[in-house]
């Protein structure tokens, strides 16, 4: 009895340490980013760093505004493309398709998540970019291309989480609605979706997180011009691409400025997550 309890405690302690090493990794990363990127932001002034329009690291001009706008534009674009598609797929799979079809389709969709992002980027470069260039104009490498690729990349996240939350809505809700004479679509629109709202919001938040953090595929299709695009057919640079693109050769203050880019990204993700969480919990309470 006491032996068992002892081994239990030992295992508990072991697991605790492992759990904490994961959490402290987060701490270490946060500390490291702020320690590396913080000083330079204050040296050149927070305002010029965030709202500066020009990014010329070799001339010690560090303005991240085009990248901040770029990140937000591309993420918004990905949501505009990915969310309706994903939500429609989830509604179809949960409410309209046969159980057998759903059982085949869902794993296939989840397979999308397993494709490496460099493959998405490569496909974009091979097919999407020439298509946009020849049919819509511009260089092809653009906000639109990045949004479409990211929109597809967030599909598995959006679909599987909203599918689960739609399925979690108790069947008695649907039965009640249909008993009142509502059609199936009316039931989905007016009963099921509102009931699953917080789960769907969670799906969108996680999709957004994936979109804003994605790097490789975006570098390949976005064109990476450090300027605020004048249209969705113009190239754009996101915060993550800015870091990955220039990290290779950056030294000294340039390198620090890239860490500062990481700080800004960190803060933006925090703010977006908090806003989303707040609205989600408020929605959930209603």
């Amino acid at each position: 009895m006491t032996d068992l309890r002892k081994s239990d405690r030992l295992i508990k302690l072991g697991l605790l340490m492992i759990a904490f090493s994961a959490i402290s990794a987060l701490f270490v990363i946060t500390l490291f980013i702020f320690e590396q990127g913080g000083p330079i932001m204050f040296k050149y002034g927070l305002k010029s760093f965030i709202f500066g329009q020009d990014w010329y690291p070799s001339e010690k001009i560090f303005g991240l505004w085009p990248m901040i706008v770029g990140s937000l534009m591309v993420t918004l674009g990905a949501l505009i493309i990915g969310v309706p598609l994903g939500l429609a797929t989830a509604i179809f799979l949960a409410e309209f398709s046969s159980r057998r079809l759903a059982r085949i389709l869902k794993p296939v969709i989840e397979l999308l998540a397993g494709i490496p992002s460099v493959v998405y980027g490569f496909l974009g470069l091979m097919f999407l970019i020439p298509f946009i260039r020849e049919n819509l104009g511009g260089p092809g490498l653009s906000v639109l291309a990045a949004s479409i690729i990211l929109g597809i990349m967030i599909l598995p996240t959006v679909i599987s989480i909203s599918l689960d939350s739609i399925r979690a809505v108790p069947d008695c809700y649907r039965e009640g609605s249909i008993a009142l004479g509502a059609t199936r679509w009316q039931t989905v629109r007016m009963v099921v979706l509102p009931a699953a709202r917080s789960g769907i919001l969670a799906a969108i938040i996680l999709g957004m997180g994936r979109a804003i953090g994605e790097t490789m595929a975006v570098i390949m299709v976005a064109g990476n011009a450090a300027e605020i695009p004048s249209s969705i057919l113009q190239p754009v640079r996101t915060l993550t691409s800015n870091i990955a693109l220039e990290m290779g050769y950056a030294a000294g203050e340039h390198r620090q400025a890239l860490f500062a880019t990481g700080v800004i990204l960190f803060v933006i993700i925090m703010v977006l997550n908090t806003i989303a969480n707040l609205t989600a919990s408020r929605q959930g309470k209603r």
Binding site: R9, K12, L13, L16, M17, A19, F20, S21, I23, S24, L26, V28, D54, W55, Y56, P57, S58, L125, I129, P130, R133, G138, P139, G140, L141, I161, D164, S165, A168, S198, G199, A202, I205, L206, I219, M220, G223, N224, A225, A226, E227, Q234, P235, R237, A244, L245, E246, G248, Y249, A250, A251, H254, M270, N273, T274, A276, N277, A280, S281, G284
Partner: protein, 317 residues
């Protein structure tokens, strides 16, 4: 103690669940942090982790050993680094027991580290400035910079001024150069890259490269994009030009090994090895090895221009 552990277990369970339903990653994460911090036990393990971490980091940094006659450090330009890596490998194969440690850092860092004595040989892919001339420089190769366009582009010759205006964003349409009425897509390398640095120095001077330019992070991707977009223009290392792109002539001079050696083609940068004094010992052996026929004759295959013709009766030291 026991209840404590259970609480943690419960929490990790709920942390898992958000993938399936309505909890959010951040909310659950922060709750774990705030609720568990006060416990002594956990603080202790956190402390332990940091101690282990710092021990690990410490042993990493102490790994670097000092040079002692059988090892030299070669540091500097990242453009030369991949080539130097290969040369060092070949050298070490022939002379087991000797170590050539090749590091990057960029041309300026290379110059600096030779001056400070941190490296025995510095690598620079740009000419030395006046105040750096006190170093002993040995040219080991030349690298040409090619301005490339799509093979179907009507342009086959540009003046340096035209190239400058295109990359500065002053000429934005091929029409200005008597071509089709199409916008020019300018493709450049990222800030900090040696190729961009060389281009900036040799073509642009003080003028900035246009912000609207597409930025890619390797010679390969620049070539890839130019080979696919009929309206684009970019610059890459001459050795990497292939049949999928067209290298334009500058001021009427085609970029070839011959015109570069005759100093007619202007976009050339030297690959320099730098030493503090005249090289001695292992450093001298390595430099001689790089200048030997064995290496020099292979340079053109790798896309570089040799400083001496191997067969041309050059003096062999």
């Amino acid at each position: 103690m026991v209840s404590d552990g259970r609480a943690v277990l419960k929490k990790s369970h709920s942390g898992c669940r958000y993938f399936k339903s309505r909890e959010f990653p951040l909310a659950s994460r922060s709750s774990v942090l705030t609720k568990s911090c006060p416990s002594r036990n956990k603080l202790l393990s956190l402390l332990l982790f940091f101690i282990l971490l710092s021990l690990g980091l410490g042993s990493f940094s102490s790994c670097r050993s000092k040079s002692n006659g059988t090892e030299i450090i070669v540091a500097g330009s990242t453009s030369i680094q991949p080539f130097a890596d290969r040369w060092a490998e070949l050298f070490m194969e022939k002379r087991p027991g000797l170590v050539i440690n090749v590091q990057g850092g960029g041309s300026s860092a290379g110059i600096q580290s030779v001056k400070m004595g941190a490296a025995q040989i510095g690598m620079s892919s740009r000419e030395l400035k006046e105040e750096e001339k006190d170093l002993n420089e040995i040219e080991i190769a030349k690298d040409g910079l090619a301005i490339i366009v799509h093979p179907t582009n009507f342009i086959s010759n540009l003046t340096i001024e035209q190239v400058k205006s295109i990359f500065a964003g002053e000429i934005t349409n091929w029409k200005t150069l008597n071509g089709k009425d199409k916008e020019i897509t300018v493709v450049v390398r990222e800030e900090g890259s040696g190729t961009r640095g060389a281009f900036q120095e040799m073509v642009m001077g003080k003028t900035r490269i246009t912000k609207r330019a597409i930025v890619e992070d390797s010679n390969g991707t620049v070539r890839e994009i130019v080979s696919r977009d009929p309206e684009s223009i970019g610059f890459i290392s001459l050795g990497l030009v292939n049949e999928k792109v067209k290298a334009v002539a500058l001021n009427g001079v085609n970029p070839t090994e011959e015109t570069i050696l005759k100093k007619e083609y202007r976009l050339v940068r030297p690959f320099l090895f730098l030493t503090k004094q005249a090289p001695t010992g292992l450093a001298k052996e390595f430099i001689d090895f790089v200048l030997s026929d064995e290496i020099q004759s292979k340079l053109s295959e790798e896309g570089l221009i040799p400083v001496r013709k191997a067969s041309g009766g050059a003096k062999i030291p």
